[in-house]
Amino acid sequence: MTSPVSGNQNDPERDQMIDTYYREHSRELWALFYSMCSDAERAYDAVQEAFLRYYDYHGEPVRDLRAWLLRVGQNWLRDVARKKSNSCGLLPGMDDFAGHRESAEDILRLSERQGQIRKAMQELNEDDRKVLVMKYSMDWSAAQMATVMDCSAAAIDMRLSRARRRLAEVLTEQGFEYE
């Protein structure tokens, strides 16, 4: 997508364009960032950061906004990875504990399972992660994924099947208990 305007923050046309683009593409960007870092919150932050930087952007008109946002998000993820500290964070799913009917034990178990799968995902290569994220997070078809990954739909199907199998192997090695 080409961005015809840039830099003017008071331009309602530009604001609307950003809103529309965010609505349509934020999920895809999140999936791509997630496949890079395997951290849902960080990937979400990368999406926000990319859009905020574009919102504040005052340079030349952006030819390909998707590529621009992807590059900004990737750079941000790299910076964060470099500065990564050992700070203590909440377990995923524990921050909204109050709204759950399940017991704390169930939530903890669920959180552990999520952590195990996340860790196993990190063992896969980036392309395998990407197809899994596109398929299961965005519910994309093989044809859609093929466009993004610049290959055939048949190749995507093969890659998807292989990625699932690899993940299953890694999880089994980790002693993951299937329900």
Binding site: Y22, W30, L52, T172, Y178
Partner: protein
């Protein structure tokens, strides 16, 4: 190589369907809910929005009421002050007569005294009263209580 193949054979590798379900559940929980919400604008943008909303609010009736209330109070105070000034001005002519009278009353004796001796440097040998007593003679008069 043998170790890894042994490990794999040790555990039961799940089927494609199992993995499919597992991954669906995993990503359902993993995807942040914030992605379904609209783009969070930076503070500057929000200020503009707030300013715009304030403008729209100021034009609406509920917020206009306090402003008109203030205007009513201010105009009422102004009218009160004006009427007070007018009342004071109305009262002034009538009361000024009495006040001048009151002011002149203490000066009256001095004016009468001046009549006794209209010219300060003139000799006080002129007749003051009807009985022909001069001003000089009044000094010698001794006032005694009547028995």
């Amino acid at each position: 190589m043998n170790d890894s193949s042994n490990k794999r054979s040790a555990g039961k590798i799940p089927s494609e369907e199992q993995m499919d379900g597992l991954l669906k559940d995993f990503f359902k929980l993993e995807t942040p809910s914030g992605l379904n919400r609209p783009f969070r604008r930076p503070v500057i943008g929000r200020q503009q929005d707030t300013a715009a909303s304030l403008v729209t609010l100021s034009t609406s009736e509920p917020t206009a009421a306090p402003r008109s209330h203030k205007m009513v109070v201010a105009s009422a105070i102004a009218v009160l002050a004006m009427s007070l000034i007018v009342a004071m001005k109305v009262q002034t002519p009538s009361s000024s007569g009495s006040s001048t009278a009151a002011n002149t009353q203490p000066t009256e004796p001095t004016e009468k005294l001046m009549l006794v001796s209209p010219k300060g440097e003139a000799p006080s040998t002129q007749v003051v009263g009807e009985d022909g007593v001069t001003f000089e003679e009044t000094d010698t008069i001794e006032v005694k209580s009547q028995k």
